[in-house]
């Protein structure tokens, strides 16, 4: 085969893949949003109750999310130090896996475990669960900046002043952007989360919206009721985007593993993962006779676990696939990014309602698993886009320029170099999204199908019915299936730093 025909074929495949990405984008985001708007405009007038915004509940939710962000950033500091020093050895791999494990497991499980350990008020447990799940996000980004620039600046500053002033003069100006951007991103995510507060017995704004979405026949009611929280989430994500875009792009190579002793590289990840993951899981496992409970769970719900896992995995892969297609297409990128971010600000209950309304008359989707897959992509596709953009940004610009100079098209540069060299990161992102899909409640509550009983909903039902054996067995099962994701993420974080 000649080189020309090979190029044509390659280009055709790329175009087809982009078309598939566009189809996913339209199917999961653009079409449901359009139908939702039409239903709102054509539907009955919103009731007076829709304008009765529960602002006290919003204030409570904002306070909870802000506290969780603060704790998360605090925990992330020592972890970031270790992330910045990870090398290529086996100890570093294990440290990376330990550091990424909390993020790859469903946070709802921690909540159920901590309930039995911490005699804390519910709100404090909710804050701790959010924080103990999310800290790897700021740890990775802060660690990356520290590794590539911060430490060098700090050491240079130390030649002229004491450590405190070195931190103020050199470290803070470099690290504040990733810290603030990650904080705002997590803040926005927590505001829309239903599963963790519910598992901690907390009523938050997302709880109210799900109840309203389930109880109201008018989509306008729920949409209007969501406006205050949508406004706050939009501000947060917009702020995160502005702060992130203003950062300097450091092309420095990451520093090697020096400066962080082997002991620290072992102790910090083990302590953090131990406290955040092992303790709640151990406590869960201690509560029941696990063997018998697991046997009963697998007998009754084995099929539901398998179905939930493959659907969540497909949700993760499809979200990242969508992101990959979006960021490699210059024309699509801005429009899709804006639309996906808009879907990010919309709470899960509205996403679920929009998808259900859009596909009501298409039985092949509405009555089967694609409706849930579309729900997952609509809910978490924006994270897929962020992961793909991150992968693309992590490639040195010189490499991309060289490829362009060699005659590669923009599409080929983005696809082969920007994403092709970061498959690990993309897969790790897919697995984190799959974990989110596994514990998603608000959207899938409105997208029930007979073939799949989502494991997240079963866990919540068992929680309510005091059936601890099955609830704990299901929780541990979804932790087991998430472990490969933790290993993958641990491997990736060493390269990404």
């Amino acid at each position: 085969m000649s080189r020309d025909s090979s190029e044509v074929r390659g280009r055709a495949i790329q175009v087809l893949l982009i078309a598939a990405g566009v189809a996913v984008f339209v199917g999961a985001i653009a079409f449901p949003v359009g139908v939702l708007l039409c239903r709102v405009l054509a539907g009955p007038e919103p009731s007076g109750a829709a304008l009765d915004f529960p602002l006290a509940l919003l204030a409570k939710t904002v306070a909870l999310a802000a506290a969780a962000v603060a704790v998360s950033l605090l925990i992330a500091v020592p972890a970031a130090h270790v992330v910045s020093r990870l090398g290529e050895g086996p100890v570093d791999l294990v440290a990376g896996v330990f550091l990424m494990t909390p993020l790859t497991l469903p946070a709802m499980v921690y909540a159920l475990g901590w309930e039995r350990v911490l005699p804390f008020p519910d709100w404090l447990r909710c804050v701790m669960v959010w924080a103990s799940w999310s800290w790897p996000v700021p740890a990775v980004f802060v660690g990356r900046v520290w590794s590539r620039r911060g430490r060098k600046l700090y050491e240079e500053a130390l030649l002229e002043c004491d450590p405190f002033h070195a931190v103020v003069r050199a470290v803070i100006p470099v690290l504040w952007r990733p810290l603030v951007a990650c904080g705002l991103f997590l803040f926005a995510f927590f505001l829309g989360d239903y599963a963790v507060p519910h598992s901690c017995k907390m009523v938050v704004y997302a709880t109210e919206l799900l109840l309203r979405a389930e109880a109201s026949g008018s989509p306008a009611d729920t949409l209007i009721a969501s406006l205050p929280v949508v406004f706050v989430i939009t501000l947060s994500l917009g702020g995160a985007l502005v702060v992130w875009r203003g950062r300097e792009v450091y092309q420095d190579a990451p520093c090697d593993g020096q400066g962080c002793s082997l002991g620290w590289r072992v102790v910090v990840p083990v302590v953090l993962a131990g406290v955040c993951v092992v303790v709640p899981l151990f406590v869960l496992g201690q509560r029941v006779q696990l063997g018998a409970a697991m046997e009963e769970t697998l007998r009754i719900y084995g099929g539901d676990v398998v179905d939930s896992v493959w659907l969540a995995a497909l949700g993760g892969l499809t979200s990242v696939f969508l992101g990959s297609c979006v960021v490699t297409s210059v024309r699509m990128r801005s429009v899709c990014l804006v639309c996906a971010m808009l879907s990010a600000v919309v709470p899960g209950a509205i996403v679920g309602g929009a998808i259900a309304g859009a596909y009501l008359s298409i039985a092949v989707i509405y009555d089967h698993w694609p409706i849930m897959l579309l729900g997952y992509v609509a809910r978490f596709g924006w994270i897929g886009i962020l992961v793909a953009q991150l992968a693309r940004d992590s490639v040195a610009s010189e490499l991309m320029s060289a490829a362009r100079a060699d005659g590669a098209s923009e599409l080929a540069v983005g696809w082969h170099i920007g994403l092709g060299s970061n498959v690990g990161l993309l897969l790790a992102g897919a697995m984190v999204i799959a974990s989110l899909c596994l514990s998603e409640v608000a959207a899938v509550s409105l997208l029930r199908i007979p073939q799949v009983n989502p494991v997240s909903l079963i866990i919540i039902e068992k929680f309510h019915r005091f059936e601890d054996g099955i609830m704990i067995s299901l929780s541990l099962l979804i932790v087991l299936v998430a472990i490969p994701g933790a290993v993958m993420a641990g491997m990736v974080v060493r390269r990404f730093r």
């Binding site: 109750a49 017995k201 409105l446």
Partner: protein, 345 residues
């Protein structure tokens, strides 16, 4: 590499689609043929009990049933909203609700079809729609749960209204009154007491410091955690918690007319049901004394509405309020409005 991943993704989709989307039922019939499909049941009954009942039906009749359940958060209201949304393209054939108020609403909105099941003949008229649009059985009761060690029984209120007395409300947990059975309970109070008295009661709860939880079982969890001394809930939540070894008891406070509110399961045929023949057979089964007995003997401990069955099982059914379910449904909107304006402010 990216192409390979995309290929893998598509392959997974095709495989999964092949195994699920185009699946056959166990009798080997292709889906897509309406008359060959099983009846579709929407149920808000707890999955554990619904599964047992449906498995029994499938075993004894050889007929399949497609079941879609509700989420715990918005019990019943989620499925009702779905039935409303689907009215042009009905998916459900039978609606089996764990309570009555939403079923009555669906009947009033013209979304249910009439069917007088022979199985329901021995069910008292109070638990049936006069037009044959729904029938009730296997009731739960609205109860006040308490931990015996934490509060002496003589310190408990004899009526629901006494919860508003000074010092009582601050020890009380109540589920969000906009949803689920608490919504129906509030509407029943409104129907019996009238607007002014009901609003005064809510104000006393608020002033007294009652806490609102996300669902009945959450109220019971607050009770078991020692955060409150009393929880308004349904009898099955208490019976389930007791079965799991928790030290919790319940009383049946008076609504003001001699009894507490009974919440029957309700079964109805959805208007425009695509599998009407199978749906009617399923309704006959669900309304049978056999199923009512199953639910009475289950961990849910439902109270039979058939007197003969309660005598047979030796179950003491609590005194029931006589307010009609239609009156309760009529009071739903003003009660919800009052709850929004007072209790949830």
């Amino acid at each position: 590499m990216m192409c390979r991943i995309a290929g893998l993704l598509l392959a997974v989709g095709v495989l999964v689609g092949g195994s699920n989307g185009c699946s056959k039922d166990e009798s080997g019939k292709e889906r897509g043929q309406a008359d060959a499909e099983p009846a579709v049941l929407y149920t808000s009954v707890d999955e554990t009990f619904a599964r047992q009942v449906i498995e029994h039906y499938q075993r004894s009749t050889g007929r399949k049933v497609t079941v879609i359940g509700d989420s715990e958060a918005g019990k019943t209201t989620g499925l009702v909203t779905r039935i409303r949304m689907e009215k042009e393209h009905p998916r459900a054939d039978v609606f089996w609700s764990s309570e009555q108020s939403q079923t009555v609403l669906l009947a009033q909105e013209g979304l249910l079809g009439a069917y007088r099941s022979a199985s329901a003949e021995d069910i008292p008229a109070h638990f049936k729609d006069s037009q044959g649009l729904w029938a009730g059985f296997a009731a739960r009761a609205r109860v006040l749960a308490f931990v015996p060690d934490a509060i002496p029984e003589e310190g408990l209120p004899a009526s629901w209204e006494e919860l508003g007395q000074p010092g009582r409300a601050k020890h009380l947990a109540i589920a969000n009154p906009l949803f689920g059975t608490t919504r129906g309970h509030m509407a029943a109070m409104h129907a019996l007491w009238g607007e002014e008295r009901f609003r005064a009661f809510l104000s006393k709860l608020v002033d007294g410091g009652a806490i609102v939880t996300d669902g009945n079982s959450m109220a019971v969890r607050e009770l078991l955690a020692g955060k409150v001394a009393l929880a308004c809930t349904d009898s099955d939540d208490v019976i389930t918690a007791r079965a799991k070894g928790h030290n919790v008891e319940m009383i049946f406070p008076d609504m003001g007319d001699g009894g507490t509110m009974l919440i029957p399961n309700t079964v109805a045929l959805v208007k425009g049901a695509r599998h009407a023949k199978d749906a009617k057979l399923l309704i006959d089964f669900l309304l049978s004394a056999e199923v009512e007995e199953m639910l009475a003997l289950s961990e849910s401990g439902n109270y039979p509405v058939r007197e003969s069955l309660s005598e047979k099982l030796g179950v003491v059914v609590p005194e029931a309020s006589e307010v009609s379910y239609e009156e309760i449904t009529r009071s739903m909107d003003p009660a919800v409005l009052a709850c929004r304006e007072i209790l949830l402010k």
